[in-house]
Amino acid sequence: MEQTDAPVVSNTHLTGEYWLLEVEAPSVAAALEPGQFVNIRIRDSLAPFLRRPFSVYRVNPEKTRLQVAYKILGNGTRLMKETLQPGALCDLIGPLGKGFELPEDAKTIALVGRGIGIAALPMLADLAAARGVTSHAFLSARSRDNLVGAEIFASHGGQVFTHADDTPDDVALVTDHLLRMAESTAFDAMYVCGSNRLIRQVDKLARAHGIPAQSAMEQHMACGFGDCHGCIIEVNLDRDGESRGYREVCHHGPVFNTWEVANA
């Protein structure tokens, strides 16, 4: 983890409601694992005052640059779009948090994402591909143009199933596709991000097949590096959900096992 002033390489419209910010940050990029995040500050700003946390979308092959895919939501993301243009420095802290675990012997994995949650998954797909692991993607969003990065998952050769709420042809939900595929394919692990409903369904499936499943979580943060105790969520301390406790998303997460967070 370090704080760095990363030169902005580009910051352009990605698709739908999403923008893609790329910065030059070799030491952060080199250390990053899929699922980890960075915390970005609008420099010298009192409003927004806090940093804004974002999953790393991808790292370039040379591991010198990192990308963040973000949705314009409020004042912080609006100013990210306006002020973080080439020539500017992006004040970021990273890598932060605990990333996804890809079991050593995994052969096939499922990546399940909804909306902006998809943005946490491309780097994991890249790692899987590099390790020769096949990843199949199950992506949903409110509208077709918000299916961020579908082409990345496709480029690694796995199957990509999509569902857009606004597309009448998309009768099957991504979970329908997943359930169907799971009947014939032995997934070694599953990863999910972006919807509590998806987390519950993935957890159920993972339990049924006795495989690990993980989910990246979100919570409002003050520091992002584990010091303020601000970003807790309630988690299951055991698989039966009998005892509960608080865990910091920025420190113990953002990646949790689905049994920790499903129905918690």
């Binding site: 409002h220 584990g226 608080y246």
Partner: protein, 315 residues
């Protein structure tokens, strides 16, 4: 080279910069940003004598120029504090002032005694004022009699320098500080974050899990400076000043108001390098302005002929 060292309540600080309890965390993460020995003294997060999970989510929320939070002072089990944290803190090469809290006079006395026994600390800070707790320091901190009893009890338990940390409150500020002084405290720290609430216009319910939370950050600085200025005129004790500090100019502002040491709080979450940068800039500013001893800044905003009151300490 200007002299930045300052002795406050018998604690020798090589510079007047420190951190607000709870804003420079347990996990030692900050040492990845800058060496902890950069600062003059370390104030770790308040510890309770008993384990406590803290408040439910959501705990933090951005507000204009500040942070609205209600963490609730989660505390690890005492054993763990004793075997893990205390030795690590003791090993640091700077004075560590441990902040403590209890729910009753007895609990305060107990945690003061236990911390003293650990033989790890340069001083103890009594958190009289945490605004995040349904019970806890609040009553003590707003009531001169209760504050007097509490500090007296703590005083009996320890020979360590005792610092009482106050919440911002206009009417009780001076009487409480005078009571604390009389009871034998060695310094005061202020301000703790004022109580606050944000209500979601969509749900019509409070946005923070605990309902009530605190307000910290630059938004509160002008109130905090006023309170430091006021106490400088009302009591003889040295002051740890804080509330929205972000730059070396804020350090100067608090010192001129009357603080001998200045703490960085919420700003460290957004700008973890704020303290070391301010230290460099303070030193450069002193050199440039021909101020060779940082003590010259303490109380500089008061009239030259103003003299602080005599000690009220009861023998």
């Amino acid at each position: 080279m200007p002299d930045l060292s300052i002795t406050i309540a018998g604690i020798e600080m090589k510079n007047p910069l420190t951190v607000g309890s709870g804003t420079y965390g347990h996990h030692g993460r900050f040492s990845q940003f800058f060496p902890v020995e950069t600062m003059g003294a370390l104030v770790p997060k308040t510890i309770r004598p008993h384990q406590w999970p803290g408040n439910p989510p959501q705990r933090v929320l951005e507000v204009p120029a500040g942070l609205h939070s209600s963490v609730g002072i989660p505390s690890i089990p005492w054993d763990q504090f004793e075997t893990e944290d205390a030795p690590r803190l003791k090993a640091l090469n700077l004075p560590v002032i441990q902040s403590v809290i209890g729910r009753t006079e007895d609990e305060y006395a107990e945690v003061v005694r236990r911390c003293t026994d650990l033989d790890a600390f340069a001083g103890l800070e009594l958190n009289l004022s945490c605004p995040n707790l349904k019970q806890g320091g609040l009553d003590f901190g707003y009531d001169p009699d209760a504050a007097y009893r509490l500090v007296s009890r703590a005083r009996e338990q320890t020979d360590l320098p005792l610092i009482a940390k106050l919440a911002p409150d206009y009417s009780s500020l001076v009487p409480v500080a005078q009571a604390i002084e009389a009871a034998g405290a060695d310094a005061v720290a202020l301000v703790n974050a004022p109580r606050a609430m944000c209500i979601d216009a969509d749900t019509l319910k409070p946005m923070i899990g605990n309902g009530v939370g605190a307000l910290s950050g630059p938004a509160i600085k002008p109130m905090a400076v006023y309170m430091v200025w006021t106490l400088y005129r009302a009591i003889s004790l040295p002051i740890f000043g804080m509330g929205g500090v972000a730059t070396y100019r804020d350090v100067i502002e608090f010192m001129a108001a009357g603080a001998s040491a200045v703490a960085f709080g919420t700003v460290s979450y957004v700008d973890p390098m704020a303290l070391p940068r301010a230290l460099r800039e303070l030193e450069a500013w002193m050199a440039q302005n021909g101020i060779d001893d940082v003590e010259q800044l303490v109380g500089a905003a008061h009239d030259a002929d103003f003299e602080r009151p005599q000690s009220r300490r009861v023998a």
